[in-house]
């Protein structure tokens, strides 16, 4: 997490398939605006796509908040995914490479974590899930 001053953030709902595409497009726009490299943009957008789908499929829907980060001379993009779904009981297991909850959507969270600079998972059974990711300009 970062204590950077809050720039304008955009909140998008995640209720349907088409919302995942919308989140990808918004993340791409913000990543382009802070001038992340093309590879870093692609990694961030891909990570956002994975997490947006998780929010929709496992969390039963929720929202994504996208904002620009500034910390000293560094700039980056933060995306927060939150849902009020069942939560994750064993976060260590959920972050293990190759783990999926069974229906085999996605590569679990571990693959997604490798694509970003900051990754924070906040969840508990019955308390929903919030995943915060960030990518900084090099």
């Amino acid at each position: 997490m970062t204590d950077a001053p809050t720039d304008d953030q955009t909140v998008l709902p995640l209720k349907a398939d088409s919302d995942v595409v919308r989140v990808r497009q918004l993340v791409r726009d913000v990543a382009t605006a802070v001038r992340l490299s093309l590879v870093d943009q692609t990694k961030l957008v891909t990570a956002a796509s994975e997490l947006a789908r998780n929010t929709l499929v496992y969390g039963g829907g929720g929202e994504a908040r996208v904002r620009r980060l500034t910390q000293g001379t560094s700039v980056g993009v933060e995306v927060v995914f939150s849902d009020d779904g069942p939560g994750i009981a064993d976060t260590d297991l959920a972050l293990t490479d190759g783990w999926t909850s069974g229906n085999g959507l996605g590569l679990g969270l571990s693959g997604t974590r490798r694509l970003v600079d900051d990754f924070h998972l906040d969840t508990a059974p019955g308390a929903g899930t919030t995943v915060t990711i960030a990518k900084w300009r090099r």
């Binding site: 088409s18 190759g98 996605g106 590569l107 490798r114």
Partner: protein, 134 residues
């Protein structure tokens, strides 16, 4: 509802994905392709993803499944045009698209497919002349 067009050229089916793929559009394409292979008896499928800005695990799985299904239906699939940034991201994410043939561009992909259609893999060491009584 969005649908990806499938073009038939001789014994090949050609698909060029030009939109940001929603999950259900990807699944529909997978179904449509399988049906078209059976309807047309196509021997090759070429999927152009040069316009795709990302391939996440869902789209990656769609590509792998499509290649596997077409193989079972006696057709070869070649995926062409993946952007370098997409390739780097895919591998880092942990997806290697194993079992999927790839080519850099449509030209090379078509050549690859033609070769495999015109010169299908024969059993090693067996030529048409073998076994002929002399």
């Amino acid at each position: 509802m969005e649908r990806i067009p499938i073009l038939r050229i001789g014994e090949m089916l050609l698909v060029s994905i030009q939109v940001d793929l929603q999950d259900h559009t990807a699944l529909m394409l997978q179904d449509d392709l399988s049906n078209r292979i059976v309807e047309t008896g196509a021997k090759g499928v070429l999927i152009d993803i040069s316009a795709l800005e990302i391939v996440d695990s869902f789209i990656g799985r769609m590509i792998s499944t499509t290649a596997a299904v077409s193989r079972v239906l006696d057709a070869e699939t070649v995926v062409v045009g993946m952007q370098p940034a997409v390739a780097i991201t895919l591998v880092e994410l942990g997806l290697t698209l194993s079992g999927v043939r790839t080519a850099l561009d449509v030209d090379r992909g078509l050549r690859m497919l033609r070769d495999s259609v015109e010169f299908p893999v024969v059993e090693r060491g067996v030529t048409p002349d073998d076994g002929r009584a002399d």
